[in-house]
Symmetry: C2
């Protein structure tokens, strides 16, 4: 880490000044046509490609610092940019440009009995704060999604990616300036210490929403201390319930895909609940296929790594899985209610009544019947872009695309109507 160059009081002042400038910029963005926003997104993609050299140079500084600090290779890989990855980031902006613009959509409307014409119109949220970890691509993705939905982006990236993020944001700001738009529509907050996060999440009245993307600890800290509205994302303690009427070949495929496709992401399966009625057949098959895939099994049965409370409550995000035998659908739902994080829950069954009951009773952002938990994803759902996966019930639930970064406004046109007493 670099030595802090600012005092805590400075950080608060800096963050509030940035948020104020972000709010002012958001008022300009709210009035832009779709054509204009799309042009800026393509301009930014062009600028990133043209300046790949300077981006890679800045990134090399971050990577060198991480290597010096002995950071593990998987984290360095997330941090590292290449010419290919920069191309991918630019292509992402063009993809956002191609998406429909939600702003200005009329959601509903009617003429009141007194003749007033009423419509509910989609408008930007205003200032969107993002707190995220090492991947520098998130910096550009968040800018693109925020801009297309008419919002300013106030970005608090990881200090480990400070040089990369600074260079990327410089290029984005130059693009905005060249397009005659306020550069403050995208800003990077100081990342030397946690205090900038604290000031961001308490800038009520300046920041309209903060979306934390990262580990459970970050999300909990943000949600518990924020006075700004937040959207909780990404903690996924996902379960697969293998019902008594499950096709066991399918069960093997789905458990393996849900667990091993990308163990470090939030939609990976962390616990398998096996119905007692089929456990005698299912458990040995499952054990064998999981072990062949290099997955370590935690649980209460012989031959498993003995499970503690954390095995049921926490995400592994690794090639580990917890396995539990349950007495039936009621016990499966109870277990999920108790330990689940309301992200993605799946049932494997050929029984229609069981599938229906599970989807009705389980309280989660996504409930899958005979499908991999890995499908909970904005791209898979066809959103074209994703800002995160909400696990809360208010405002947005599940993968969030452009419409989830908007609010609404009622507009009424009258000709002098007064309301009777």
């Amino acid at each position: 880490m670099s030595a802090p160059t600012t005092t805590p009081a400075d950080v608060e002042q800096i963050v509030r000044a940035q948020a104020t400038a972000s709010k002012a910029a958001s008022r300009v963005l709210a009035g832009l046509t779709t054509d204009r926003k799309n042009r800026v997104l393509h301009d930014a993609a062009d600028a990133l490609l043209a300046q790949t050299g300077s981006i890679l140079a800045a990134n090399a500084e971050d990577v060198a610092r991480a290597e010096l600090a002995g950071t593990e290779e998987s984290l360095i890989d997330r941090l590292r940019l290449t010419a290919d990855r920069v191309e991918g980031i630019a292509a992402g902006l063009r993809q956002v440009a191609a998406l429909p613009d939600p702003i200005g959509d009329v959601i509903q409307g009617k003429t009141l009995p007194n003749g007033m014409a009423l419509r509910q119109v989609r408008v930007p949220l205003g200032v969107v704060g993002m707190v995220y970890e090492a991947r520098p691509n998130v910096t550009v993705d968040a800018f693109g999604i925020a801009l297309k939905s008419g919002n300013s982006a106030l970005l608090r990236g990881s200090s480990s990616a400070a040089s990369s993020n600074a260079e990327l944001v410089r290029i984005l700001r130059d693009t905005l300036t060249a397009a005659g738009l306020p550069a403050d529509a995208v800003q990077l907050l100081p990342s030397e210490d946690r205090s900038s996060v604290t000031h961001l999440i308490r800038a009520r009245g300046l920041v309209d929403v903060v979306i934390p993307r990262g580990g459970a600890g970050l999300i909990k800290a943000v949600v518990e201390n924020a006075t700004v509205p937040t959207i909780e994302t990404g903690t996924g303690n996902c379960h697969i319930y293998i019902h008594a009427a499950a096709d066991l070949d399918m069960a093997e495929d789905l458990v393996i895909n849900s667990k091993t496709r990308r163990p470090s992401v939030c939609n990976t399966a962390e616990t398998v609940l096996v119905d007692k009625a089929i456990a005698e057949t299912a458990l040995p098959r499952l054990t064998q296929v999981l072990q062949s895939a290099g997955v370590i099994i935690h649980g209460d049965e012989p031959g498993m790594v003995p499970a503690t409370e954390e095995d049921w409550s926490d995400e592994y995000l690794s090639l580990d899985i917890a396995v539990k035998i349950v007495g039936g659908l009621d016990e499966a739902v109870d277990h999920i209610d108790r330990y689940g994080t309301s992200h993605t829950e799946a049932i494997i069954t050929d029984d229609l009544a069981a599938a229906t009951e599970f989807t009705n009773r389980v309280d989660a952002a996504a409930v899958m019947v005979n499908a991999s938990t890995a499908f909970t994803d904005g791209e898979q759902f066809g959103f074209g872009a994703e800002i995160g996966i909400s696990t809360q019930k208010l405002h947005a639930r599940g993968p969030m695309g452009l419409p989830e970064l908007t609010s609404t406004k009622w507009i009424a046109w009258g000709n002098g109507q007064t309301r009777p007493v």
Copy 2:
């Protein structure tokens, strides 16, 4: 006030136990058919009518206590129930029964390229906490709206209405029990001191949303200290901008209606911004008509009560209004940005471009053109029932009806789909 019968530690335990029971009850409510919910609403209406005597007796205790405490008559009037008012409360429940049930609505759906059938379905939020002031009718209204949208209601009413609320909730709980449903779907939290509010807004994981209804102080305290998601309601520092191209007869009517119809409610107008271009004609007319209606004018012009910063920033909720001359639309929008609470803002003009620009630029739940601010109201908008008016941008904005008390769930039906790496 009655003497506290519980210690602070007790209150925390009580609130958490009530919230836990509320959560359990909410799982039952989530699975009820519309028919069953409607039957309970009619049962409750019948029970309230049949037990009007005991309701009025309990209410008489509250009223007597308030009179003894020297409470002002307007507050006592809000607290007081009569046979007519009980009839109105019961009729409100039947009206909610007649509304369409939002639960189970399919908001969007599609078949993914791999054959998975995906749909986004409306589901209840779970446990809805309400913090509100004297009117006992809110107790029953909140129960009705929560039940119809499949939610448990955790109610924290005013201690001044403690006896009335206790009797109303007893009747509602008896109705639920008689219908074979969990009585804990509606519960009254202790109201002896503020600590039950604190515990309610920090019962994260048990309570899904808290909606404060009351003065700006209550709402601020709830929003700033909550870890549970909240919906900010009801603070309305509403403006009317009389544009240079306004019809001044219409302006007089709209200002008078917006200010004097019911000065104590949130959609009342608190400031009039008069365009400099017409001030010479408009101001004397406005002054005369406001004074005739008994309204005290605050402002910087001769003959007005000199205005302080609070005159621009706070709600009067009385027969007072602030009047300011502005240089044009830009200055009007800037003033509203600075002092408005994003509730309802109005422009009076015959100029299409000015009307369009005002509706585009002003950031509020409702923007009116040539209509009274008093129209921002769930009943006026045709929602049939209203739980409050949200002035925040996340989740719900403006009057909230049944759909605003719901969340969504993605349900995917597959036949063994796995996601490619």
